[in-house]
Amino acid sequence: MFSVSERDQLRRDLVNAADTDPRVVGAALTGSAAVGREDRWSDIDFALSVDREIDAVVTDWTALMYACGAVGHLDVRRGSVLFRVFLMRSTLQVDIAFWPSTEFGATGPTFRLLFGESNEIPQSRQPDRAELVGLAWLYGLHARSSIERGRGWQALYMLNNMRDQVMSLRCLNEGVNAVQGRGLDDLADADEFVGTLVLSTHPDELRRAFHVLTGLLLTEINDSALAEAVQALSPGATAQR
């Protein structure tokens, strides 16, 4: 397990490395550290503005991270930005975002520019309500068929995903962060979802959880035709509020 002082030291080393790399023309802290909300579990989120040779910069910084104790990494791309997520031997997570300098900027309030210049760019938004509803009923359809086919683990996968969508809808309703589960513990009545936890892969237990979850989804649907179809997925399910 990493210590806070180890994390702080690594962050200072990364800032120094950015400062001395001539291809890096700007850098920012992002995430909780940018707004003074770090705790002992926080990761390092670091954004680089790169004005040339971006592939070589990624290669060199990756080598640097492995020299510092990385044991693996995962890439997430959004447009032309690469988010390379490193897992350190200490279990510290370090996210380094490689931005073309022409696009470098804050996508949300957790952005603190360390040096260089940032651009005005579109802000990250909450997920789209209609898309969440659509995904919820889609996972619901496949939960039902998986249960009835006796595919317990597939059904569990569908139910877990369905719950994620329905809880995100609740987050939207209550105006808390609906991205990646960040606002779930801020919900007023998150315990309403305890009944959707699946205690075994037995069909009866899967049906029980599915029934509760379908009721919770129904509370999020305003369209009557859609509500009727969703209700038919688990007959007898009713809106929970």
């Binding site: 397990m1 044991v71 693996g72 279990t91 683990w153 569990l156 699946v198 075994s200 892969t201």
Partner: protein, 56 residues
């Protein structure tokens, strides 16, 4: 012989109580380690689990 399905059943969470989440996380991390060939990465997976255990 214990089936994979039985082992994975231990990763199901019965509540959101921290102890229950740690128990399931511990089992799940152990299962993840069995899928990792790289020794350094596997060791880090073990450290993840110990980090959680240390918080009990």
């Amino acid at each position: 012989m214990i089936s994979t399905s039985t082992v994975c059943g231990g990763t199901l969470v019965r509540s959101t109580h921290p102890d229950e989440l740690r128990r399931a996380f511990h089992m799940l991390t152990g299962l993840l380690r069995t899928q990792i060939n790289d020794s350094a990465l596997a060791q880090t997976g073990r450290a993840l689990c110990l980090g959680a255990a240390a918080q009990r």
